[in-house]
Symmetry: C2
Subunit: 315 residues, 2 copies
């Protein structure tokens, strides 16, 4: 199975964003997504997408603030996590919020953990000896794609049963996209069955040909994605995002961000390492709710959009 670290995977995505021009559009033959949404063909559309909702209360509270600022346009929720019910309550009382499901198969923190929604004896390849999702997937972790589909279906069904009406699907830690055709096709089957778009980026196709070959002609594909990595120094956070915004290309770009407050809960939940930790997420919150970000969106003539709008336009 083709594997890569997330860092490497993101590196490729960022490299492609920085160096390639837009050569193809799925909508070349017909109207582009931008045109279907009433914008010019070369408009710069952006989804600002907060990941990991449901993980902790801190993530929920910061992400809700981000969504309510109007600058964060979309987010996705982790169904297996203990704070999922808090986001269910929000979703049910804020039906306009653009909330998808952040399909989750790992429990990557040390002191705060979660496990599958499906009965764990039905998904043995997904859990460690204590019954939690694996901390990580390594070369020796054998993941059974049939169990992946069973667990993802259980996550979607719990969300629907509890009253969430998701606008899209994506993948925690990109696990479902970077671990081979069988796993990705499980996601695709569910996406078609539940009629939901999956976060999929044209820039990823070169490094992962099975992604493109698994798609159906009607599947929605965005052009680019941007996410910050551990190579960026904390004091360069705003510089990284400003540069990315000033170099935004025509088409649809999804910024994947991670919001939380740098508070006791979040520091404890992530204390074993700094990457995607409490301070990291506070920096993301600070930038994406800032007047600087709001001004850049206006100056660069960037159109903020949602997954709901894209899916509606793509129909």
């Amino acid at each position: 199975m083709l594997r890569a670290t997330i860092h490497k995977f993101l590196g490729v995505a960022l490299f492609l964003l920085a160096t390639t021009s837009i050569s193809t559009h799925a909508q070349t033959a017909a109207k582009s997504l931008a045109e279907k949404l009433g914008y010019a063909r070369d408009a710069k559309l952006m989804i600002v997408h907060a990941d990991d909702l449901g993980m902790t209360h801190s993530v929920n509270a910061a992400s809700i603030k981000g969504l309510e600022s109007g600058l964060v346009t979309s987010a996705s929720i982790m169904v297996p996590c203990p704070w999922f019910p808090e986001m269910v309550d929000y979703a049910k009382t804020h039906t306009d919020a653009d909330l998808g499901l952040h399909l989750t198969l790992t429990s990557e923190r040390v002191f705060y953990r979660w496990g599958p929604v499906a009965p764990r004896d039905k998904v043995p390849s997904l859990v460690d000896s204590n019954g939690y999702f694996h901390l990580n997937w390594t070369e020796t972790t054998h993941i059974d794609a049939r169990e992946v589909e069973l667990e993802l279906r259980a996550q979607i069904e719990r969300a629907l049963a509890m009253g969430v009406r998701p606008t899209h699907l994506d993948s925690h830690q990109y696990r479902l996209f970077e671990n081979g055709k069988d796993i990705f096709q499980s996601v695709q089957r569910l996406a078609h069955e539940y009629k939901l778009p999956v976060f999929m980026v044209r820039d990823w196709f070169a490094a992962r040909p099975y992604l493109e070959s698994s798609l159906s002609p009607d599947d929605l594909v965005v052009d680019h994605t941007v996410t910050i990595g551990s190579g960026v120094a904390p004091e360069k956070w705003a510089d990284f995002y400003s540069t990315a915004l000033k170099n935004l290309q025509p088409g649809v770009t999804v910024f994947i961000i991670h919001l939380a407050f740098d508070d006791d809960e979040m520091r404890a939940a992530t204390r074993e390492r700094d990457t995607w930790g409490a301070a990291w997420r506070q920096r993301d919150f600070n930038f994406f709710t800032s007047t600087e970000f709001r001004a850049l969106v206006r100056e660069q003539d960037i159109k903020l959009v949602t997954w709901r709008e894209l899916a509606h336009a793509a129909k």
Copy 2:
């Protein structure tokens, strides 16, 4: 099945504490527990026991502070809860800490939830339609005692596998004590198998005869328990505990307390009702780490003890 609300159950316990004199001791024929520990027969022994560790980070952090003050002598951990691994880490690095397992079959909060350790299709009577433990057990909740034993065994086994060496067992929300003989006998079988004392109070026998009839002669029984209830006004918190301490009877009394900080995480986790909420737990923390409490213990000549000491003495 004989049932009662927790409030009623605690009311009976507090009434008995306030009005009865000590008429019996399990150790009447031989040395009392106090004597076995080297104290006078009429010594006042007290375990100050923090419940609900593992529930949230806030509970963990406040309870650890309480334990490290020396004034909170014991605590118990909820294995199914997401912050259990944080307490595992503490238990493994603080092997002198007197930590038991707070056996848990309910997930009583609305916005923050957990489920069984056993595969949930093996314990269908314990879970709601979304796979979480029931919010509450009502007259129409049929709980299968065989599933109780399966789930409790899974909780004990996970704790042992992760490196916790529990000193005792007790029951979240008293569910295992107040819901009939079959469920209590499940706990007793596990306690004997794993050679662990169970929190059991002589004052409870009058209202729940099946408790006494299910015990073996060697089972450890404490004399009294004190826990605060929702009838106490916040400003009367210290008064309630001071009065209880000044009226402490000879024998072993277990104070059941609930520690956490009144912070964002705890407020969000308990926001649907005030009982056992964030402010409640902060009040408990404030009292049981106060100089007032320390002075009362000294003035009243109260001996602070642990479950480990009691179990060792009872052998």
